[in-house]
Amino acid sequence: MKRPLVIFAVALAAVAAIARAQAQDAETEKAIEKYRQMLREDPWSNPGYLDADRGEALWTTRAGPKNASFEQCDLGKGPGKVDGAFAELPRYFADADRVMDLETRLLWCRETLQGLSTADYVKRPHPAGGQPVKEIGAIATWVASKSSEQKFAAKLDKPQEQQAVALGETLFYRRSGPFDFACATCHAQSGLRIRLQGLPYLAEKKEASKVIGEWPAYRVSNTHVMTMQHRLLDCYWQMRMPELQMGSDASVALIAFLTKQAEGGEIAVPGLKR
């Protein structure tokens, strides 16, 4: 007779605890939303625009042993065509015989047009905290901003592109490292947080299409623009993995998968993140 009563009491206490936790959650969430709103109210307060401007200048600056600029770089719509190019990336490039995301393609242009080594660049491709985004990141910010207000429309229908998306999906669910984490550990459910940071549900199109188009973004906690390649490295860092190589097939595949998930989502670069 006693047992059901005890179970009932435990259940009641659990329900009360959950109700309290939910009230606190709602309050915390409200405060965070206010902060986000303040960041959004004046879009020109986004320091990322400075890097986009720097990127635009770098695009036309001659450099390297070949003393050339990026102006003949083919981002998929023909040499020098920048407007709307980001909205159709990643894509397969026959000249490189590879699927490439924006940053990987910019590295290719840097090497082929300017004669500067990609292998050297990827040794330290991302800024430390407080340092401005590096050259390729600045150019990527500018190029991506030239697709702002457009929708993601990468076709991803060639066999190489389909393989990249499939590999990206596999890697999204692949557990790695001593913490057993996968991308899916944090991004396969809606409405969850790490500490107070909300986590987008990237395994689902609705949330993915809201957030993927905000990268490259100025990240307030790092005080610099972070590109998608850098963002992925940061996830793998948290997963206790080694440094993800910029432009690697795995990185391109993950970006291809995420872009596929974000299909139809609006591009708003540079984004502004906590």
Binding site: V10, A13, A14, A17, I18, R20, A21, Q24, D25, T28, Q162, Q163, A166, L167, E169, T170, L171, Y173, R174, R175, S176, G177, P178, F179, D180, F181, A182, A184, T185, C186, A188, G191, L192, R193, I194, R195, L196, Q197, L199, Y236, W237, Q238, R240, M241, P242, E243, L244, Q245, S248, D249, A250, S251, A253
Partner: protein, 204 residues
């Protein structure tokens, strides 16, 4: 009859899509290996993962029954208990390690402090700490809700040591089995959850 037909049609419709999605595991392994060229030699196992991880990845964390029991059996065998079966350490130390996310990242090498458990990243624990994540369930009043029972103390130790014993393909790290935390540290984390004086249970 109509239902059977519908199911048949559905399975025919989904088969080609799935076949297209299939990625040769060797290809995924090779892509990961190539993507982390700076991995130190003793980090090689981080790139491949063990059998449990592979089974959880392949099933998107929903293993079939027989695989789930194989995982449970395999993971239970990894659990090392404290020598005197004294599971409860120091809750204050437990609170400190629950706050710390330090350890095993490439920027943490060589180690400058003990690894943390980073419990607050995913769980609510004490009332005082409002910056907690929600990837895991709330652990507020954890011991109190379990009447501080000895079985619950042991179960808490096992969950932290190796979460797959209680829930195959749990998303929680295997803190003991993967040597993220020491047995001593896990005892401190158990104290945070299970000792009556811990603020997790007093609500202070």
């Amino acid at each position: 009859m109509r239902l059977t037909f519908a199911i048949l049609a559905l399975s025919f419709a989904t088969v080609p899509a799935l076949a297209q999605q299939k990625v040769d595991p060797a290809r995924a392994d090779a892509a990961i290996k190539a993507a982390f060229p700076t991995a130190p030699a003793d980090w090689a196992s981080r790139l491949t993962g063990d059998e449990t991880m592979q089974q959880c990845s392949a099933s998107h964390n929903s293993p079939a029954k027989d695989i789930a029991s194989a995982i449970q059996k395999r993971e239970l065998a990894t659990v090392v208990y404290p020598p005197d079966n004294n599971f409860i350490g120091d809750w204050q130390k437990g609170e400190r390690l629950a706050q710390s996310g330090y350890g095993l990242r490439f920027t943490d090498d060589p180690p400058r402090q003990p690894n943390g458990g980073n419990c607050y990243a995913c769980h609510q624990l004490t009332k005082k700490e409002v910056s907690y994540g929600t990837l895991g369930p709330s652990l507020a009043e954890y011991g109190k809700l379990r009447d501080f029972k000895p079985e619950a103390v042991k179960a808490a130790y096992e969950k932290i040591y190796n979460s797959h014993v209680a829930l195959p393909c749990s998303t929680m790290p295997r803190f003991g089995a993967n040597k993220i935390l020491t047995v001593e540290q896990i005892r401190d984390a158990v104290a945070l959850l299970m000792s009556p004086e811990s603020p997790v249970n007093t609500g202070k």
